[in-house]
Symmetry: C2
Subunit: 574 residues, 2 copies
């Protein structure tokens, strides 16, 4: 495999050998190591010193189930720290098939010209782009699919990215031609700063994946695959209801943040929960279950149609439905689906903008529960890049500062996702301490706190949460590096044969001799590398704290956020 | 003297004894020590845990020349660190005459009611306020003067403060009923968060100042006074041309930041310089020289009339004229005077908003040199609190983030003043390292770099700048604590008898036995206290750096910013 390096200042491309120390890294592990090595931690995230790194995971392009996640890394314009964001779609597998270990985009062009990149079997072609500027992701994908064929992979930014909003994401075409989002941390703005509107991926005649021990790989892959399907969460709940199965579960647990984290239960839950969503999808002839990438066996995505049975959105996630739903006290699933659709189209993170909307409601920009008002803010303000759109599109913290609001649910300037940190304390520890800013996927303690996976730890008590979050953050860094979907973690952590099968696949592909421990050690190394970058950027343990308003008790359990700084600092004691 | 403590949550007032360790502190020394002791460094600056502290200087209310500066301290919503800002006006002397060592405002009210505070001989009365909400500072002062008499002191916030903008200031009525501004760091937003629109000061029957050794004080005060008048800067240049004498001086030195720090010289200098301003004032029957407070002998203020010889503005400073002038390539002094007037009225910092305007011009919001366009942004956007106004009113960094601009001249999120740090390197060291965020007054190295006061240090070379800035930062912390105007420093640093006279006055008033060294040690203590607060708030030495674009050479000397981090870190080696 090769490292593809593109310099946007002189519009050059070079294919480099993969350094020895990067060979057993992929996905997040590789993007973070490259960013930490090559990017000045104190640089401006939108300046010429930042780099944008794309990397498929270690197992990308193989028959390993759920191994098609694409990682993108850079210094984040939202958090000011290192960022890795990942998503499904068709890009990672195409990059792997093209023999691309990582694509590193450096520097920024002089002048105002925009560009597109075209990755193919012989390298990368850089073209000038004008036609698709100002267009949404759906139109970009549609146009490029028409132009280059159904099989073309697309990585693109929408209008939010073009405006360099800190909440803008990078979008990836999925197997159905819909949109998958690398949502968090404003990486769309970094792509925009390099003036790249989109990247196409043509894997025709790509070298393909080389697996050293195909037989072992195949056996392990079958065990892995079966393991995922035999777990109640990844084999049953997620395929049927998608991630939105969590609305009812979190509401019952009293951990569904409602009205900007004032309550842990939402009275409109019934109308927006996974079960209602499933029934709606079925009655409108949508598709309740499919994968975000080829080889996904969990298939938590769906196609949500409108009242006329026409396609409205897909990849309609719990966090989105929570954020614009319970978070903003909106109980209309169709409106939330419309917002999800426009967020995908303009390329903006639903979690960050849900936070921004909650803060806007605090500020009186629109009333609580005004779903149509929110939708209008997306279509008429954010999409158009108006001044209000610029405020909201830069996220919850920025919106709070614009209007003097102090109740802002962020850590490291990034909006908190869909789990109240007081009543699901393990996830609070992750929000506070992950290198990524408030992020549930960085160490999904909801597992043991609420889902009773990997043991049971009382979500309302402090005991065991530090260790839980630490172990999950380490495991997640390793999983993200393999390019695996985070939902493989349920089976990996619960079933020993599944974790062994995973390591067997890696060893079989690369000829390595890893143990499960070695793999977790890689996770530790990635976390420490990321943390060192953040410290060199000026972060301290003061950044590993929750906002002060979480000292308020949250109903129904009336628990507060009660971890001391000293306790939180123990997360990195490994 | 007493500490007056007001709690806005329960609307209570209490007068406390002055703790022994605060007795020889005043002004900045006292505000910083109180903030450091009583405010949680990690709190939200606009939340209930922040405190707003007003303190006259050690010599306030005495016959010591230029001792009437008022210090205000808090955690800054702009920088996120400790902040002291000071100004002239009539408030400090009235507080001193009332026996108020410091006024500490704590907590925030419940509900939406606004208040006013009335400080008088028996304490503080808290009243509800509705009438003056939404009004500008000129109207507030006019109304309160009508209501309570000419002699009433007023501290107030304008619309920018009410909107909680990070660039909003606190304004003080001056002896002519005009406006003096505690400009930097967004302290107006802190006052607004406590929902105080204004404070009146009635010093009738105040206890007055107690001076233990009146004879010694009087003799020393005469030496001090004469010293100020005998120095060429404070005795001649400033009285005649005001601070705007610096436009020509800095332009000649190649250190006048032009077009957002692209050049060090501005071709429109002739039209906006101090000499032109003086001629304009004289021809329009303005007042070329008066003091910002009673007892000022330097008298660098002026009244600038419009073309019809009617009052337009006063306290028309070099930094304002530079910022909206050379900084934005505007060469029309009347337009800049109009902007100064509206900034005073809505209560917003001219340096911070000049930075915001430069960044807005980078973003294409208005063209370079469009003075009338800027004026409109103040009157139609910032004053009205529109969305664009909210962006600009939160300062240069915020504006840059809103529009994805990377060329932002800030340190610790605060806009750089009127001296290019590359061609006046000593001031660059101060910008980088002061606890306050980019601030020229924190260690005015322009003295030895350009004005040849206190020795001569080549402004283009690195040699000696660290020591210069360090010594000036220490001296300034001490001067700010005495409540002295920064312009007394020229004579204090150049003439030994003047510094001795200053210490003699302090000793004579308080019965202390300080040497000049003891006084500087107090300055050291204040700086270290401030720095410790910032570190506890999460600042590191990474915050003591200039933005990366200062690696560009600046004409005419084509010098770059070339200090290493290690060199800058030496400033705090004391």
């Amino acid at each position: 495999m090769k490292i593809y390096r593109i310099n946007m200042s002189n519009l050059s491309f070079v294919a480099e050998e993969v350094p020895e120390e990067w060979k057993l890294l992929g996905g997040r592990g590789l993007t973070s190591v490259i960013v930490a090595k090559e990017v000045d931690p104190t640089c401006h995230p939108l300046g010429n010193k930042n780099k944008l790194v794309f990397a498929p995971g270690l197992l990308a392009g193989t028959m390993a189930a759920n191994s098609g996640r694409l990682s993108v890394g850079a210094k984040s314009p939202l958090t000011g720290g290192i960022k890795e964001s990942n998503s499904g779609g068709t890009a990672a597998q195409r990059l792997a098939k093209l023999g691309v270990k990582a694509l590193i985009i450096e520097d920024i062009p002089e002048g105002d010209q925009w560009y597109s990149l075209h990755v193919h079997k012989d390298g990368v072609k850089i073209k000038e782009e004008t036609e698709l500027l100002g267009k949404g992701n759906y139109e970009v994908i549609h146009t490029l699919t028409s132009r280059y064929g159904e099989n073309t992979g697309v990585i693109t930014i929408g209008q939010a990215g073009e405006y360099k909003m800190s909440a803008s994401n990078i979008s990836v075409k999925d197997p159905k031609g819909h949109i998958r989002s690398l949502g968090r941390g404003g990486l769309g703005a970094v792509m925009s700063s390099k003036r790249i509107k989109y990247i196409t991926l043509d894997d025709n005649d790509g070298k393909g994946i080389k697996i050293l021990d195909k037989e072992t790989f195949k056996t392990a892959a079958q065990i892995f695959n079966k393991g995922l399907l035999s777990h109640p969460v990844s084999g049953n709940a997620l395929p049927k209801y998608g991630t939105n199965v969590l609305v009812n579960i979190l509401n019952e647990a009293g951990g569904l943040p409602t009205k900007n984290f004032r309550m842990g239960q939402f009275e409109g839950t019934e109308k927006i929960c996974g079960e209602t969503m499933y029934d709606t999808i079925m009655s409108r002839k949508g598709d309740p279950t499919h994968g975000c990438h080829v080889g996904c066996v969990i298939r938590c995505s769906q196609t949500y149609n409108d009242k006329d049975n026409k396609y409205l959105t897909s990849g309609f996630e719990y966090e989105t439905i929570w954020g614009f739903g319970a978070g903003c006290t909106v109980d209309d699933l169709d409106i939330i689906a419309n917002i999800d659709q426009i967020c995908d189209d303009i390329g903006i993170d639903t979690i960050e903008t849900a936070g921004a909307m909650m803060v806007a409601m605090e500020a009186g920009i629109l009333p609580w529960g005004d779903g149509l008002g929110m939708l209008k803010l997306f279509t008429e303000e954010i999409k158009e890049g108006t001044y209000l759109g610029r405020i909201l599109g830069n996220g919850a913290d920025f919106t709070g500062k614009a209007f003097g609001v102090t109740r802002i649910p962020t850590v490291k300037h990034q909006s908190m996702p869909a789990y109240d940190p007081r009543s699901v304390k393990g996830i609070g520890v992750t929000y506070a301490t992950t290198t990524m800013g408030a992020d549930h996927t960085a160490g999904y303690s909801v597992t043991s706190n609420v889902l009773n996976v990997g043991g049971r730890i009382d979500p309302l008590a402090k005991e065991g949460q530090i260790e839980l979050s630490r172990n999950l953050q380490i495991a997640t860094a390793a999983i993200d590096s393999a390019g695996l979907c985070i939902f493989t973690a349920f089976a990996i952590l619960d079933y020993e044969p599944v974790s062994h099968a995973l390591i067997d696949m890696i060893n079989a592909e690369y000829g390595s001799n890893w143990s499960v421990d070695d793999w977790f050690n890689m996770g530790r190394f990635v976390l420490k590398t990321e943390r060192a970058f953040n410290q060199a950027a000026g972060f301290t343990n003061k950044d590993d704290r929750l906002p002060e308003f979480f000292s308020e008790p949250v109903p129904p359990h009336n628990v507060t956020w009660d971890f001391t700084g000293e306790e939180l600092d123990q997360v990195y004691n490994f």
